[in-house]
């Protein structure tokens, strides 16, 4: 008896927590099945088999229900759909309140009133592109190279050897996309699809803390809008704006991309989708290369559609592979020639003389160029220009002390931390 009691006692806190969650929807769960608009025959059958309230059927599969009460599967499916819709509307797992989501959807409508129209003129697109902000990278040179940052509505691919900073760049972007609008940011959220298991929350926290510190420094004390934005701007808020998903094989990745529209409807603020990396699951155990090409093309199509429908940026990472041709072997991005067409912008990251460089390999509107960058404890940063020659001697990815904001750094996150000359 004593053991029994102790057991019950241990379980109690957990159940009480669950109880709290269900308590709100309890009335819904206890709703009489007779109150649903069902045909009388089915109502009688349900009653005869002992199903009286929503709770009794909600966990069942349609096959089970049809077998249990002797109706067709089609009918049981309809019953379940009806019952689930009635409960899901009030479940606490739905994060957005109706008023909230309505306002944000209307905001989205305002942003692009041409949403319903299929065709837009080039002029309209140009106007939209000019007005739409880009996601800053926190590396000034990289932003310059990309024309302001990673653009929305487009697919950007980062290629590079292991350890060159692909994942770091992705985490940096996932944090940067959340910069409030009054600071010139996008004020969105991120969906981070991790296929390699390389997303580490500690790293995201490092970068988020540095970002909050930076915004605090550049904030104008007289600007009320910025001050109110700062008040709720914290590492916790930044991290809770990154929604992480894991994929363990390519089938899961395909399934997840199919489900993305639904997820995006749930998280309306998402402005960036990161897939780190697209290559991993497509590079092993694939004997049928035509299938791989077909799947990748399908994936690219879905992503392009999502990017333009939801006005968000898609960032993919890709691995490098050794190309053995007639000449000397060199490194090229993996996944083959046809994948090269999939993304709008392709950036190749590489090491040279102890320094990380980014090369804009493909872009519709910017010319090819190569810029240096570094990865510090605080995230992606540009290499100080005056010390460019010395930069090769100091190992990057080293903790740089946060710099004091310069007087003219207000309002502009593009003007990033740059070590002043007296520093190291």
């Amino acid at each position: 008896m004593f053991i029994h009691y102790v057991k019950g006692h241990q379980v109690l806190p957990r159940t009480s927590k669950h109880f709290r969650i269900y308590a709100q929807s309890k009335t819904k769960m206890q709703r009489d099945l007779g109150s649903f608009p069902l045909p009388p025959v089915i109502r009688v059958k349900l009653k005869d088999s002992g199903f009286s309230v929503v709770e009794d059927v909600i966990e069942m599969k349609p096959t089970e229900l049809s077998r249990e009460i002797g109706i067709s599967k089609e009918e049981s499916l309809e019953i379940l759909k009806m019952v689930r819709e009635s409960t899901s509307s009030s479940l606490p797992c739905q994060p957005k309140t109706p008023s909230n989501s309505a306002s944000s959807s209307s905001q989205r409508q305002q942003q692009h009133p041409e949403g319903n129209k299929r065709t837009v003129t080039a002029l309209e697109m140009l106007r939209y592109e000019k007005s739409s902000p880009a996601i800053v990278t926190f590396c000034e040179d990289l932003d310059e190279m990309l024309g302001g940052g990673v653009p929305l509505c487009k697919i950007t691919e980062l290629c590079g050897a292991p350890g060159v900073g692909k994942t770091q760049t992705c985490i940096q972007l996932a944090v940067d996309v959340q910069i409030p609008q009054c600071f010139g940011g996008v004020e969105g959220e991120t969906i981070y699809i991790d296929t390699e298991g390389s997303f580490l929350p500690q790293r995201a926290a490092d970068i988020a803390v540095a970002m909050v510190g930076h915004c605090r420094r550049i904030a104008d004390t007289n600007d009320e809008e910025q001050q109110t934005a700062l008040a709720e701007f914290s590492m916790e808020k930044l991290l809770s704006g990154i929604h992480c998903f894991r994929c363990h094989d390519y089938t899961e990745l395909l399934a997840l991309v199919n489900l993305l529209p639904e997820i995006l409807d749930k998280h309306k603020k998402v402005k960036l989708i990161v897939i780190d990396s697209i290559a991993f699951h497509f590079r092993h155990d694939f004997d049928d290369f035509s299938l791989r090409t077909r799947l990748l093309n399908g994936l690219a199509q879905s992503l392009i559609k999502i990017a333009s429908d939801y006005r968000l940026a898609v960032v993919l990472t890709n691995q490098m592979t050794t190309h053995i041709g007639n000449g000397p072997s060199h490194l090229i991005p993996a996944l083959g020639e046809s994948w090269g067409h999939a993304c709008t912008i392709r950036i190749i990251l590489f090491w040279k003389d102890n320094q990380r460089y980014a090369n804009l390999y493909k872009s519709p509107n910017k010319q090819e160029m190569t810029v240096p960058y570094q990865i510090t404890m605080d995230g992606l940063r540009s290499v100080p220009r005056l010390e460019n020659e010395q930069a090769s001697t100091s190992t990057s990815f080293r903790h740089d002390e946060p710099q004091d904001g310069n007087e003219d750094d207000h309002l502009n996150p593009c003007k990033r931390l740059r070590p002043s000359e007296n520093q190291r």
Binding site: P62, P162, G197, A204, R246, A255, Q319, T321, N354
Partner: protein, 361 residues
């Protein structure tokens, strides 16, 4: 991946779909969910002769069935309040200095590579991890045994015995009685790639299912792959490596265990973009393997020596040469992070003593 036909049929029946759509799918006889997802919606429509609307519901329902992984925000990951399978933890090395250097220890789950020349201390570090993994989670272990796959050499069981005796001194009496350190390390000697693949595919999952094992060490991957392939078979070798790496990844994720792969080094012949420091020695097995691992640690020997007395505060490696040249001095070794998602490129120094690996401040 559904291989069992009957099982798959049952799962197909459980889809919450209109029976009309299900019947159409059954007529076409799709082999698995992944076949359905691999087809474009236009192809699906052509094959099943379903209208576009139904195809969309079919794809959506199958996707929901296939993708059931939990998701979490980064904040939940950070605080560890997310689903068990998403949690990231660390396996401590058993030395505070090294743990500090590695920001907690070896990432769990994940594949960590320990590369280095011979006698750099790779096996010593691995053996120490085999012991520390057995401690309880409060003490930085994972409360489980280890599988040690030897491909290079005979497992140094005498040395392990010595380590166990020293390790027990560090534990308190109750913990010492509970842990049967030597009984929880499963050692396997393998000499062919096929044996290794078989072991990883069938035998280790069995051990993991009984959840006795919380660490997998492969010492070393390079030995097998470097001797079985001729220079002209690089593509074939890369393919085998990739599938092996994927297997290890899957094991690591599914069972939430760290995997440690020991790698050899090779002389750097080219000045490619892969290596940051134009180093003399680079890890073997090339880019195909580097793409598969999460963290790469490079061990090496330095020219410095340190007398192996149990000094409380060991001198820095620069000062180490000043100690008098005794008979029992040990070489100072270096550990360098080549790449890791959470660590900067940095180097720290350690020595190998009778009691195991000890980091130097």
């Amino acid at each position: 991946m559904i291989t069992d036909r009957r099982n798959y049929d049952a799962e197909m029946d459980d889809l919450e779909l209109n029976p009309r759509i299900l019947a159409a799918c059954k007529k076409v006889n799709f082999a698995s969910f992944s076949t359905i997802l691999s087809l474009s919606s236009a192809d699906l429509g052509r094959r099943t002769k379903l209208p576009a609307n139904d195809v969309r519901t079919l794809l959506h329902t199958v996707s929901e069935k296939v993708y059931t992984n939990p998701s979490a925000t980064a904040l939940e990951l950070y605080h560890g309040t997310c689903h068990q399978s998403l949690r990231v933890s660390c396996l401590r090395t058993g030395c505070e200095v090294l743990d500090g250097f590695l920001r907690g220890g070896i990432l769990t789950p994940g594949i960590t590579e320990i590369a280095g020349e011979s006698a750099a201390g790779k096996t010593q570090l691995c053996m120490q991890l085999c012991l520390s993994v057995q401690r309880s989670t409060e003490n930085g272990g994972l409360a489980g045994g280890a599988v040690y796959i030897c491909t290079e050499d005979v497992f140094p069981s005498k040395r392990l015995h010595q380590l166990i005796q020293n390790f027990q001194k560090k534990l308190d009496a109750t913990e010492c009685r509970q842990l049967k350190l030597g009984d929880n390390i499963f050692i396997e000697h393998l000499s062919e790639i096929d044996q290794l693949v078989h072991c990883i595919q069938y035998r280790i999952p069995l051990l993991l299912k009984q959840s006795q094992v919380k660490l997998i060490v492969v010492d070393s991957v390079a030995a097998l792959f470097r001797c079985e392939f001729s220079p002209g078979e690089a593509a074939k070798r890369a393919k085998r490596l990739q599938s092996l790496g994927a297997q290890l990844h899957r094991l690591s994720r599914l069972h939430h265990v760290p995997v440690i792969c020991v790698n050899q080094v090779t002389a750097n012949m080219s000045s490619g973009s892969l290596n940051p420091n134009q180093r003399q020695l680079i890890p073997a097995l090339g880019l195909a393997w580097s793409n598969l691992i999460q963290t790469r640690l490079m061990l090496g020997r330095t020219a410095y020596k340190l007398s192996s007395g149990d000094a409380v505060c060991p001198p820095r490696p620069e000062d180490a040469t000043q100690t008098q040249a005794g008979t029992d001095e040990v070489p100072v070794r270096s550990m360098e992070v080549v790449f890791a998602p959470h660590l900067p490129n940095d180097t720290c120094y350690f020595v190998v003593e009778a009691a195991g690996v000890r980091g130097l401040r």
